[in-house]
Structure formats: structure tokens, C-alpha cells
């Protein structure tokens, strides 16, 4: 039974639905652009510089690690570019170049590659890196100071600082529609709410991020903020304010949904998102930090392996 014709022989199944990591990364990058482009228009060429440097340096760090660890080059899957862009979306437009490059080093190398590359990172790499640089050089990420030299036609005070220092009445001047349209200062890609929501809805519909996580995260923020607001409306701002300021939207749609550090089962996904949302508001309202999203996401990343044990019984196992 030997012939010269060489047929392809492989294992079943012989069909594939055509999905791939690179198409997923491409789609998330495109959805992220909906928030990044308005950010760049608002902050000018400096923001373009931060975003491009961040993406480029993230790819280069991954290449360097591929080279050092003698692994096949993996930048083609787009994950490094995605991490770079997520990181840049959280930065103020005036971040110095060395902080961007160091940050992507933390994200790609410390956050992802030393754990074994894509799929093995216990924390969202961009969030981990952002937290590290924020703790290390806090003054760079004080949005009020960082964006001091910009002239805006809206109240250029970081809304979360206002609500933290002066209570809920201080943020009454922010109309929710203005916050939604990005009339607030903050990270390059994290203030234009409508773009983040459109991008997030697109990704949820296409199945690239899980709606269970995003929706429950937002529900958690809403419920917790509502509770605080109900308890003391003078001191704590309402749910709308918490949903549209800081990193809430980018966190719900782009950061908490990162595959490797989030659960895969239905109930765990809901619990994971809800916990993240509640923690966000808890940290904002009762903690010392101004924004709670990053810490909340790190904590839910940490509990992800435990809550993902809530799973249905496999076929033929138990009653």
C-alpha cells in the first residue's frame, strides 16, 4: 500500500472554524482604536507618540525574549501589540519615553513572558505593569499635574480626585453626557466613554470578549456605587459618575476580560466581574487610592483560579 503520492494525513476533526489568536488580537486592537483616536485628537501628537512607542516597545520586548529564550518568534499573534496598546490607553499623554519603555518591559516580560508566554500569565500584563509604574513613579500619573499645560474647554480636574477630596457635591459640575463624550481628563484611551462602549459592544457581539464579565463588572460598579450613594449621598458620588470616570469602562471591556487571567465558566465569570466591580467602588470610596480599577482587577485575577472551580459536573460523573 505504498504510492508516490503524498497525501496530508492528520487527526480529526478535519474542519476548523477559522478563528485564530491573531484575528482576535486584530479585532481588539481595532475596537480599542475607537477610544485611542479621540484621545489622540484631544491630547495631540504627544499622545500619538506614547501610543506608538508603547506598542512598538512591547513588540520589541517580546522579540528580545523570543530571542533570549530561543523560542519561535511569537509577535505575529498580535498579543504583544495588544498589551502595548492597552498599557498606552491608561497612560497620560505626557508620560516620558523611559516610563513607557519600562512599563512595557514590566508588561511583556514580567507580566507575561516569564510565566511562559501567552495564556500562562496569572495577571493581566498591562494592568500589572501599570500598577508597578504607578507605585514606582506616582507623580508621573497624577493626571492633574501631568496634564497641567493643556488648555481644555471643560473642567480639567481629574474627576476621581475631586470626588475623593471634596465629596459628591464637588462633581456635580460634571454632566454625565460630557463624561461619556470624553470631556474629562485621564488616560489617552480611557476617557472617551462612547468609543469604549461601542468597542466593547462590538467585541462582545463578535465573541472576542465575554459579555458575562463586562456586564457583571459594570453591574458590580453600579450596584456598589448605588449602595454608597444611598447610604451617604453627600459624600459618595452616584453610580453614573463611577461608571464613566477613571478606568471603569476600559477595565470592564478591555482589561478584566483578558483571556488568560479570567474564568471560562458561566457562574465564575459573573462572580469574577461582579467582584471586580464592587472592589473598584470599595477602593475608590474607602481606600487610599484614587482609582480602584487596577487593584480590583489584580485581585480578581488572583482569585480567578479558585472561583473557576465552580463548574458543572462532567458527563457520567457523580449525580
Amino acid at each position: 500500500m505504498h504510492s508516490t503520492l503524498k497525501l496530508t494525513v492528520s487527526h480529526a476533526p478535519f474542519w476548523h472554524n477559522g478563528s485564530s489568536i491573531s484575528s482576535k488580537s486584530r479585532n481588539i486592537l481595532l475596537a480599542g482604536l475607537l477610544a485611542v483616536i479621540p484621545g489622540c485628537l484631544q491630547y495631540g501628537i504627544a499622545a500619538v507618540g506614547v501610543v506608538t512607542l508603547s506598542i512598538a516597545s512591547a513588540i520589541i520586548w517580546e522579540l528580545v525574549i523570543n530571542f533570549i529564550s530561543r523560542r519561535p518568534v511569537s509577535v505575529g499573534d498580535g498579543n504583544a501589540a495588544l498589551i502595548g496598546m492597552m498599557f498606552a490607553m491608561m497612560l497620560p499623554a505626557t508620560t516620558p519615553w523611559w516610563a513607557v519603555v519600562t512599563g512595557t518591559f514590566f508588561a511583556v516580560v514580567i507580566g507575561k513572558e516569564i510565566f511562559g508566554g501567552i495564556g500562562a500569565n496569572p495577571f493581566n500584563p498591562a494592568v500589572l505593569a501599570m500598577t508597578i509604574v504607578m507605585v514606582s513613579w506616582g507623580y508621573l500619573f497624577d493626571f492633574n499635574a501631568a496634564l497641567l499645560n493643556y488648555q481644555f474647554d471643560f473642567n480639567a480636574v481629574y474627576p476621581l480626585v475631586l470626588s475623593k477630596s471634596f465629596g459628591a457635591s464637588a462633581v456635580d459640575s460634571f454632566a454625565l453626557t460630557d463624561l461619556l463624550m470624553g470631556k474629562q481628563i485621564g488616560g489617552i484611551g480611557s476617557t472617551f466613554g462612547i468609543g469604549l462602549i461601542l468597542g466593547g459592544v462590538y467585541l462582545m457581539l463578535r465573541g472576542y470578549i465575554r459579555w458575562e464579565i463586562s456586564i457583571s463588572f459594570l453591574a458590580g460598579v453600579f450596584a456598589a456605587a448605588m449602595g454608597f450613594n444611598f447610604f451617604n449621598p453627600e459624600l459618595y458620588a452616584g453610580p453614573g459618575f463611577h461608571l464613566l470616570t477613571g478606568y471603569t469602562l476600559i477595565g470592564a471591556f478591555f482589561l478584566a476580560t483578558e483571556d488568560s487571567s479570567s474564568p471560562v465558566n458561566f457562574i465564575p465569570m459573573l462572580a469574577y466581574g461582579l467582584l471586580g466591580g464592587v472592589l473598584t467602588v470599595l477602593i475608590r470610596n474607602t481606600g487610599v487610592h484614587i482609582d480602584g480599577v487596577l487593584y480590583a482587577i489584580l485581585i480578581i485575577n488572583l482569585v480567578n483560579p479558585i472561583i473557576d472551580k465552580i463548574r458543572p459536573k462532567a458527563l457520567g460523573k457523580g449525580v
Binding site: 503520492l5 480529526a12 478563528s19 459579555w211
Partner: protein, 435 residues
Amino acid sequence: MIKRSFFGLVKPKLQYEIIDEAPAEPISISASKQILLLIDQFPDSAGNDLFKTGDEVRRGQKIAMADDAPAYLLSSQSGQISKISEFVGMLGKKYMAVTIDVKPDAKRDVKSDAVRAVDESFKKACQAPSLDNAAKYLAGLPGKPDFSVFSDPEKPVKAIVVCGVDNDLLTTTNQYVVKNNIIAIKTGIDLICKISGISHAIMVVPQHLEQVAGSSGAIVKTVDSEYPSAHPELIVQHILASDDGKSMSESGIAFFSAEAVSAIGAAYNTGIPPLEKIVTVITKDGNKRLVSAPIGTPLQDILSEFNETLNEGDRVVFGGPMTGTSVFSTDYPVLPDTDTIIIQDKSQITERDDIACINCGECVRVCPANIQINQLIRFLEAGQYEEAADQWDLFSCIECGFCSYVCESRIPIFQHIKLAKHTLESMKAAEEINA
């Protein structure tokens, strides 16, 4: 090939093929020169003293390694054995490959020649139908009926299930038989009930065939049209369990395909076992045709009927797109369980990859057995098969292949699972021998 739908909010759905209202007659193909029979080989039956090269065989004659060997095939043509060799299939499974040169006069016009050339031993044996002679002569019929379940003393068979559904995509063989041959199925069911002494017969069909199946006399159950609901394990779990609760899934169930049942009916009625297999052939351009070919017909003859030429790197799949087997030679024959033959052009093949799992969870959401595949695959890739079986439900897998189909990293998950199961089973077998 069905691609990922644009919207990915809900889990992907694959629909079983539904046969046309009036399906075209199957194209009749016969073997031009040779037929090849692959017969399961068991380690303890290594010697073959029954047949040797040059022996004459008649149509319907039993070809086996030994007289009482449980695995055998019936020669679908009269001719002369020209070669007996060993063939190694999936996961090192060994077969005895018997090549039979077809007698020129038996090639065409099967009807008139067949009666004269046919082997009479079954006719003699089937005067009084019994489980014994069914197991002895009929396990090589199209549809591969399995009579060994009746002889398991630990699991007494309580029900006979006739599958009028096809258990892979694109396949329409069983639906065709149900649609066109329900009378033969009825005869077959009556016969099996009679010889086994079991009166509980259930027929499982797709919804659109419910009415037709009603005339079979069996209890009719329907399955929905989404893959893999027609998988035997899921039929037991979802359809049968709701009737009798747990007792059903724990007792033995004898599964027969509709094609096998109709063949059993015809075999006892006429004394000549039917040996034409109905196969759905899908050519490179995606056209589907039903083909009726004698068991043992090599792939080459089917290709030439459809004027298909194979080029370097193309793939030929015996069986459906989810669970079939790809073959490496155009000599590979139609076997009793070959329901589908798919010919894929090189450009239609998606290559598999060795990127690590990214934990997206698509596989977990589609798994009909609720296995945590994202965790399982980590153990399988590391070769930790025992942990995979103990902690992550390796043996709950029903082998539908859906996880590999949706995998974003394109990991050959199904292959890992098959290899792990095979390794563990052969380890267990080796331990039993040593003990």
C-alpha cells in the same frame, strides 16, 4: 467548511446534514480490479491458517484470521486472494489486509452472477435465526452491527436502539436508509428482537423523519439537528435517561445503525448478506453524492467515478469531518463503517499549531460532556495523563471533536485526548498481563 459566524456571542452551532425530500439514487460503483479487506487483528490470533495467497473466495464468504475469530469480513466479490499482509492503522492498531482480485465476470451485473458465485454457508446457517449465527456471519454487514453486547454477562441488554441518525456532519447514509427502506428496517428490528429475546426497541431519528420511522413498529424518539446530539452517549444521556432514569444508562444498550438493521433483515430474508455500503462522497468542489459500493472497494475506483484527481498535499477523509480518519493511500477501501468520504483540496486544510492554550474558554462552552478542557489540555500537553484522568475528567470525553474545531490556538486537542486515552488503556492492559 463551516466558518466561525460573524457573531460570537452565543456558542457556535453545527447542524447535521438533512437529506433531501427526494434523494437521488446512489451511484452504483463496483471495484474494477481488486477489493481490499481490513480485518481487525488481535495479538493472540497472530497466525493465519485459514487463507493463503491464491485461494478462491466466493461472494459472501467469511474472511477471518481463524475459524472462531470475533473479527471478520465477508468478501463482497468473488475472486482470488492475491495478497495477505499486515496493515497498521490509527494508534498502532493492526489489521490483516486481504487483497482479492475480482473475477472479471463478477465485476458487473452483480445480480445474475452473484447467485451462482455466492457462498452458501450463511444460507445454511440462517435457517433458524439466532444470536449465535448472527454474530458468526453478520458482523461484517454494512453499518457494522455489533453483537458482542449481547454476550456481556455484567451488563444485560435491556433495550435495542436503532440509530436513524448519522453521527457525523455531512453524512446521510442512515437517513437515506430510513427514508427508502423502512420496511427492511422493520423486518430487521423484528428479527433482532426475536433472536435476542428483547422486546424493547427504540428508533432514534431526526425530527423530519419522525413520521416515516413510525411505521417501523419501534418506539420513535427524535434528536435535534445540532451536532453532537446524535452521539450514542448523548442519546443515552438525554433521550433514554428521561424515560427510565438511571437504570437505562447503567444497563446495556445495543446500538445498531439503521443501515445495519435493514441489512440484517435482508440477509435473513434472502439468505444472501447484502454487502453494498452506502457512502456519502463529498468532492473537492463541495458536491455531495450518495454512492453504493461493495465493501472493500478501494478509494481509487471512487475517485475515478467522480473524475477527481488527487495532488500532493490533498487530504482524503474516511468518516465525517469531525471524527473521521484521514488516509495515506488511494488503496484504502470502503469498510462496513465508512459512512462518508471527504476529499479536501490542499487549500481547504487548516493547519494545526503548537501554541499554548490561551484560556479563551471556547472549548469549555461547546463541550457536550462539560469537561474543563482548558485545564485538561495543560495536563495532556505535559504528558500527565493520570492526573488528567483523575482530576479533569479525561474519560468523560465522548470524542466529538468539537473542542478542536473551535480552538483559537488551533491545538489538536482531540488528538491529545485520543493519545492520552490510548496510552492509559495500553498501560492498564500491560499491568493486567504482568499481574
